[in-house]
């Protein structure tokens, strides 16, 4: 069984908040990994989805379940998905910084 390509890189933002940068595709085959990665981080987490080319409802479910403690960075491509799913109403969504961060 193959999973969709997904890289999850933990880090910190400039203000020191926990940061999880996801790159690749998130679907039901690998959404568990996203959940595990978030659960490893305590406190408020900024999830950077700028490098995500595909996100489906499995990934969204992981994010919904942790809506109180995350905020998102997403580019225009993902934004409609976040809006229609209603996640954008619960979670702050920021545009990526001009330098890509």
């Amino acid at each position: 069984m193959t999973s969709a390509p997904l890289t999850l890189a933990p880090g910190r933002t400039a203000d020191g908040t926990a940061l999880l940068t996801a790159t690749g595709e998130i679907d039901m085959s690998n959404s568990r990994r996203l959940a595990d990665a978030l659960d490893h981080l305590t406190g408020h987490v900024v999830v950077d989805l700028t490098g995500v080319e595909y996100l489906d409802s499995a990934g969204l479910n992981v994010l919904f379940a942790r809506a109180e403690r995350i905020e998102l960075i997403a580019d225009a491509l993902l934004r409609p998905l976040l809006t229609v799913s209603g996640l954008a109403d619960l979670v702050p969504v920021r545009r990526p910084a001009p330098d890509g961060r």
């Binding site: 069984m1 193959t2 999973s3 969709a4 390509p5 595709e25 679907d27 039901m28 085959s29 595909y54 996100l55 489906d56 409802s57 499995a58 969204l60 479910n61 919904f64 491509l77 409609p80 998905l81 229609v84 799913s85």
Partner: protein
């Protein structure tokens, strides 16, 4: 493009042989004679080699009951059927069979030939009605009339090779009508009685009008000096053949009239001995024979004789001779009628003279008798007074003179009373009296005489409560006569007179204990001059008039008298008089006068009675008359000459009985009724020969009776003799105006009555002779005749009418709607036509119509109806006289022609067996207005295969109908079978015997005409089926071959192809297409078109296609492939100049490399709505310049563009440049660009199809770039990423906006995840299919799984619920279709 050769060769000997014997077997007798013909010696050759069409024609001919002949082949070889043999061919059979028609009918060929030529040249049918022809079929040139149509016969290829002639011989009808016209003319005005010379002149004029049957006629009447020429027709006066007088010595030449003594006609040859230069009548040559017919009068010697020259072109058969006898009979009747009229006139004048003399006699009698009587009794009275002392002897003699004068005076008075009463001139004066007192007083006058006779007189006459009106003088005569009568016949006992009141009448009885009257004498007791014979009486004197007078007098009082008696029981006379005066003439009623004593009237009675008594015996005068007396019987001259029925109507019983007695005695059969109404009923139920009726009657008087009789056709001609008490000219005129035939005033003598009755009966007999003759005439009319009154009530019909419509005269009178009208429910159209014509007829009184009528047995008939109004001379009413002529046969012959023509036309356009069958069934249904028409084939062990005009299956049919249809299989072909409301026929079908059934429904039936038509049409259909079957087979073979080789049945995704054969019958051609998967994932595309059509072209195409495919696989370069194909095509006949488009497509990039060998440019439709033509890489068609270089052109297919490749049949139109067609194709491609390729292909084919279908075959190939994505993957989450990758790749090729692509990607991902998670939770490893297709404006994605979803709506907040929400949010339209074998999700996304 060339045409394939259509072969019609057949060489199946066995089948032909079976067929010709079968065809001949349709009529074994004619068939045997046909089989005996040496056919090998005719142009047709032996029957086993005959074409199917000839056999079909022969079979139709032989199985038809209608008279037909046909001619076939270059010599027009003659065939006929049994009906034609019987009706027309005569002695020429069987010689005529197999001979050229021109030889068979050489004597009339000059008439026939132009018609035959026309049919053969134009293929159109001819129609001739009642054409006069002179065939020599019975040994002489014969006047005949034929109605016929020649219709063309076609061979298997449809060429006219012969003709069919349906004949109905009209000779009988035409000649019958001509003769009938003469008979009708002769009787045209039978009510006008003419003198003999007028009658003869009239006959001469009428006979002159038919010089065909009567070239000339001579009428001789016999007289004392021989036979005198009295009337001629068709011959000039003074002609040697028409001597004005034939003396008794001159009884042989020219006319042997002495031979006519026994009443039979004599046939005379008209040789030179008769006369030269005889008139020829209507004919070119003079007559050869004449017939002498006696002019017979019933029961007497002939009036004379008739000489008629005979039509030399007709045999003197029964019909001809019968006609001549009718003519002679009519002449005789006319002469007899004229003479009888003359005699009648003379007799009537004599009777009138007699009547005048009688009246004068009675008027004079009073003076002539009474005056001398008065001159006797007066002086005797005086002498008695002047000679009181004369000797006793003198006194006694004076007494005797006085008594006898009184008696004579009494007799004369009685007679005068009678004549007065009879003449209605009795001067009565009625006054109210006490009837008891008056009667008692009268009775007392007789007391002394009765006492002297030793009898007791009892007078019991109390006063009545009411007075009774009487005329005293008359009443005296009544009572005195009765008392005198009682005394005369009573020897012991008493006489009793009573007056009583009974109901509203006064009753007076005079009863004696005398000898009584025998029972058989009682009815005649009151008859005038009747005397009861053989009884004891005081005297034998008496006139037999007393009681008759009593009855008349009582009747004048409105009363009645009856007698009750028996031998030795005595007699009781009872007189009943009504009270009041209402029953009496008002002007004769007076007030009461003074009572007076019994008048002098009484004296003679008493004097007479006293003389009967013993004391007077010495002085009584005994009558010399014996005891036996007889009433006057009819004189020998007034007896009934013929047995005739007379109906007597009179309310007066006595009068009625009196009339009956007289008439019975004269030998008439009588029937008596008591009033006018009863008389009318009796006359209607059984019309008598004469009615004798009183004028004054209760209920209905005589004048009303006459009017009622005259207004009813059944009784209009019954003569009526009216009797009336009223004398005078005016009364007679009134009676005759009402329509009475004669009038007789009471009183009348029996002899006079009998004379009148006899005269009227004889006249009526003459008149009914007319009526009978008229009936015979009407019945002998060949046309049906009906007479209606102005309200359309049918009053009279003739025999032909019954024959035509099945209704006899029992239905008369028959009010509209008549039973022969079509049923309003079953056939509203026909009903309306008839009702409209009828309404117009009543309005106009005349008209000519062709009408559909219904025979009593339900058959439909076509009738030509002619109506005229006529004035009924008897009743004065307007009548409508109509004749019906049966034109069913003509109508159906015409209908057959048009039906055959319509069927032929319809079948000519059909190109397959099924289509021909369907077309024919439709025609049949329309033609017969049938409920349904079906055909059934009977495959072994399977239910019959039906073709039906409506939604009907075998099991819908009732079982009896199924059986009838199944049984048809075992009938000989083309011989129709009728059953109930339908009919069927068996015909040959390529797949076996085919049963055809036509259900008319609604109580309609097949007529013989319908059967004939069905046989003809079925034969035609069978031919058409055989023909189309041949075409079908060739076409099917070619089409199968072509479909097998023109292109792959499975095309890669994104492609669609169509092949359309050309419009039948030029259908298949050399077009092909091919799509080849090349090793490097590229696709080879080929569309080609080789010249020619049919199997040959298909074979060439197959080779080229295979070669092209092989070359392509070897070297996937279009240009090089075509160059190699140039060489290959050079070696194949028929491949020269083939056009081919060759291309190689990279489905991933959309790069198309192509080269064209003279093929029309392909069309590329771009997503922006524009069109481009691929005009590069052009070269010559194949094999034109083998070896010449060809080049490739490369072209990029943009995403969502559509490529159209085609053959020229799609765009090439007559009178139109190719570019125009290509432009239309491009437009069709654009208008359908939102459709999937398969639907787009249909759209383009339909948009470009010409109105009548493609004239040339068409191959069409479509490709939409990119081709749809089709992935199947296991239902595992790990497969999702790979699938997504493929989808992303495809979406990229579709060149969609990034956002749209991502939306589709995510929505599809959700659907796939759903399928993995839900559908295959319990059974992992199932397959999920993803299908993505790009259209110009949108993308369709379908995800289908093979599992089962959880039941119920997923919770929207649940994990998957969110996924569905996303699918909906990102797609324009989502459809989830759950099913038992899986769920499919369809998503449509618009491309912005």
């Amino acid at each position: 493009m060339g045409h394939a050769d259509r072969s019609t060769d057949r060489s199946d000997d066995d089948r032909s042989s079976a067929t010709w014997t079968e065809a001949f077997a349709a009529d074994p007798e004619i068939g045997d004679d046909l089989a005996a013909v040496d056919w090998a010696a005719t142009p047709l050759g032996p029957p086993k080699d005959w074409p199917q069409s000839l056999l079909t024609a022969v079979r139709i001919l032989l199985s038809s009951r209608f008279s037909m002949w046909m001619a076939w082949g270059p010599d027009l070889t003659f065939f006929c059927n049994a009906a034609y043999r019987r009706d027309t061919l005569g002695r020429k059979y069987p010689w005529a069979l197999g001979r050229p028609a021109s030889e068979v009918w050489s004597e009339i060929w000059s008439d026939v030939r132009p018609r035959v030529d026309r049919v053969l040249a134009s293929g159109e049918a001819t129609w001739d009605e009642a054409l006069l022809l002179f065939p020599e079929r019975s040994g002489y040139r014969e006047e005949t009339y034929h109605t016929f149509s020649y219709s063309p016969l076609h061979d298997d290829d449809g060429a006219v090779v012969g003709l069919l002639c349906v004949v109905s011989e009209d000779t009988e009808r035409v000649i019958g009508a001509r003769r009938m016209a003469t008979l009708r003319d002769l009787g045209s005005d039978p009510t006008v009685v003419r003198t003999e010379s007028e009658t003869l002149a009239f006959f001469g004029r009428q006979l002159e009008r038919n010089l065909a049957d009567l070239p000339f006629t001579l009428t001789y009447l016999l007289g004392d000096d021989g036979a005198r020429l009295s009337c001629t027709s068709g011959i000039p006066p003074g002609h040697p053949a028409a001597p004005p007088l034939l003396s008794p010595e001159q009884a042989e030449r020219p006319w042997p009239w002495a031979d006519l003594t026994d009443g039979t006609p004599v046939l005379v040859p008209l040789d030179a001995g008769v006369a030269a230069g005889l008139p020829t009548g209507d004919w070119p040559e003079p007559p050869q024979q004449a017939l002498l017919l006696p002019l017979l009068q019933p029961g007497g010697s002939p009036h004379g004789f008739l000489v008629t020259a005979l039509n030399r072109y007709r045999a003197l058969d029964e019909g001809y001779q019968g006609f001549l006898e009718l003519v002679a009979g009519h002449l005789a009747a006319g002469i007899g009628s004229a003479r009888a009229y003359r005699d009648q006139q003379r007799r009537a004048e004599e009777l009138a003279e007699l009547d005048r003399a009688k009246t004068t006699f009675f008027s004079n009698i009073s003076h002539e008798f009474r005056t001398p009587l008065a001159l006797i009794s007066g002086p005797v009275q005086e002498l008695k007074e002047q000679l009181p002392d004369a000797p006793a002897r003198v006194r006694e003699e004076l007494e005797a003179i006085h008594r006898n004068a009184l008696r004579l005076g009494k007799l004369v008075n009685t007679l005068l009373d009678f004549s007065r009463i009879e003449a209605g001139r009795m001067q009565a004066s009625y006054e109210p009296v006490d009837l008891g007192a008056v009667t008692a007083e009268l009775a007392s006058v007789f007391r002394s005489a009765i006492d002297r006779a030793g009898l007791t007189l009892t007078v019991d006459c109390p006063a009545l409560d009411r007075p009774v009106h009487i005329d005293r003088d008359m009443w005296e005569k009544v009572i005195l006569n009765l008392l005198s009568n009682a005394l005369k016949f009573t020897f012991d006992g008493s006489i009793r007179v009573t007056v009583r009141e009974e109901a509203d009448r006064a009753v007076v009885t005079v009863q004696d204990t005398g000898v009584g009257i025998p029972a058989h004498e009682l009815p005649r007791l009151f008859e005038r001059f009747h005397r009861v014979g053989g009884v004891r009486a005081r005297s034998h004197e008496g006139s037999g008039i007393g009681l008759a007078l009593v009855r008349e007098l009582v009747a004048l009082h409105g009363g009645t008298i009856t007698a009750d008696s028996g031998p030795e029981l005595g007699t009781c006379f009872t007189v009943r008089l009504p009270f009041g005066s209402a029953h009496l003439p008002a002007d004769a009623v007076r007030a009461s006068s003074q009572t007076r004593a019994a008048s002098t009237v009484a004296v003679p009675f008493v004097q007479e009675a006293l003389r009967w008594l013993p004391a007077d015996t010495g002085t009584s005068v005994h009558d010399k008359a014996g005891t036996g007396t007889a009433s006057p019987r009819s004189g020998s001259g007034s007896g009934a000459p013929v047995r005739a029925r007379v109906l007597v109507a009179d309310d007066n019983t006595d009068m009625r009985e009196y009339l009956v007695r007289i008439l019975d005695g004269a030998g008439y059969e009588t029937e008596a009724v008591s009033d006018g109404r009863a008389a009318l009923c009796a006359a209607r139920s059984h019309p008598p020969d004469l009615i004798v009726s009183d004028v004054m009657m209760p209920m209905m008087d005589g004048l009303s009776l006459v009017r009622a009789l005259r207004s009813d056709t059944r009784t209009a001609s019954v003569p009526v003799l009216l009797l009336s008490a009223r004398a005078g000219q005016e009364a007679a005129i009134e009676g005759l105006t009402a329509g009475a035939d004669d009038y007789l005033v009471k009183p009348f003598a029996a002899a006079e009555l009998l004379a009148r009755v006899r005269a009227n009966v004889e006249l009526a007999h003459l008149r009914t002779h007319h009526v009978r003759w008229r009936t015979a005439l009407v019945d002998s009319l060949q046309e049906a005749l009906l007479v209606m009154d102005e309200d359309g009530v049918v009053l009279e019909t003739n025999t032909a009418f019954t024959t035509l419509l099945g209704h006899d005269s029992a239905i008369l009178p028959c009010a509209p709607p008549h039973p022969w009208w079509p049923d309003a429910a079953a056939d509203p159209e026909a009903r309306r036509a008839v009702a409209d014509a009828f309404a117009e007829l009543l309005r106009q009184g005349r008209g000519n119509h062709t009408l559909p009528l219904i025979h009593r047995d339900g058959r439909r008939l076509w009738v030509r109806a002619a109506f005229n109004d006529a004035h009924d001379p008897d009743t004065g009413r307007r009548m409508i006289v109509g004749t019906f002529r049966d034109i069913t046969a003509e109508r159906y012959a015409a209908q057959r022609e048009s039906a055959l023509a319509a069927l032929s036309t319809a079948l000519a356009e059909t190109a397959s067996v099924d289509e021909a069958l369907t077309t024919a069934l439709g025609q049949f249904q329309h033609l017969w207005q049938a409920e349904y028409v079906l055909t059934a084939l009977f495959p072994a062990d399977e239910p019959p295969a039906l073709t039906v005009t409506g939604p009907l299956s075998w099991k819908d049919l009732p079982a009896p109908r199924q059986q009838v249809i199944e049984k048809l299989q075992h009938h000989p072909p083309l011989s129709p079978v009728c059953e109930g409301t339908g009919a069927g026929v068996l015909l040959e079908h390529p797949d076996g015997p085919l049963a055809l059934w036509i259900e008319l429904g609604a109580a309609r039936r097949f007529s013989g005409q319908d059967e004939l038509l069905l046989a003809l049409l079925a034969g035609h259909l069978a031919q058409a089926l055989a023909r189309t079957h041949q075409i079908d087979q060739q076409r099917d073979t070619a089409l199968t071959l072509q479909r097998a080789i023109l292109g792959p049945s499975q095309l890669p995704a994104g492609f669609a192809a169509r092949y359309e054969p050309a419009t039948p019958p030029l259908e298949i051609g050399g077009d092909w297409y091919d799509v080849i998967s090349l090793p490097d994932d590229r696709t080879g595309i080929v569309v080609g078109d080789c010249v020619g059509r049919g199997l040959e072209a298909a074979a060439v195409m197959g080779q080229l296609r295979s070669a092209c495919r092989a070359l392509f696989l070897q070297d996937p370069s279009p240009a090089r492939t075509l160059m190699a194909l140039d060489h290959f095509a050079g070696g194949i006949p028929g491949a020269f100049c083939t056009t081919v488009f060759c291309g190689v497509l990279d489905p991933h990039t959309g790069t198309l490399t192509y080269s064209s060998a003279g093929h029309p440019p392909s069309v590329l439709a771009l997503p922006d709505g524009t069109t481009r033509l691929l005009e590069g890489g052009r070269g010559l068609p194949l094999a034109v310049r083998p070896g010449r270089e060809r080049s490739d052109t490369v072209c990029q297919l943009p995403a969502r563009s559509t490529l159209l490749l085609y053959t020229d049949g799609l765009v090439e139109r007559r009178h139109q440049v190719l570019d125009q067609g290509i432009q239309v194709a491009g437009e069709a491609l654009q208008t359908g660009r939102d459709l999937p390729p398969s639907e787009l292909a249909d759209h383009v084919m339909a948009a470009l199809a010409p109105a009548g279908g493609y004239e040339d075959d068409v191959a069409l190939l479509l490709y939409r770039h990119p081709a749809p994505l089709q992935i199947a993957f296991p239902a595992e989450s790990g497969q999702l990423a790979t699938t997504r990758g493929a989808l992303r790749d495809w979406l990229t090729r579709c060149e969609l906006p990034v956002r749209t692509a991502l939306d589709i990607l995510i929505a599809t991902g959700e659907a796939c995840a759903n399928a993995v998670e839900h559908a295959h939770r319990d059974s992992p490893g199932g397959t999920i299919r993803l299908n993505a297709e790009i259209l110009t404006d949108r993308v369709h994605v379908t995800v289908a799984d093979s599992g089962t979803w959880k039941t119920g709506e997923p919770d929207p907040s649940s994990l998957r619920g969110r996924g569905i929400g996303i699918m909906h949010a990102l797609s324009s339209h989502v459809t989830v279709t759950p099913g038992p074998s899986g769920t499919s999700v369809e998503m449509h996304t618009r491309i912005p």
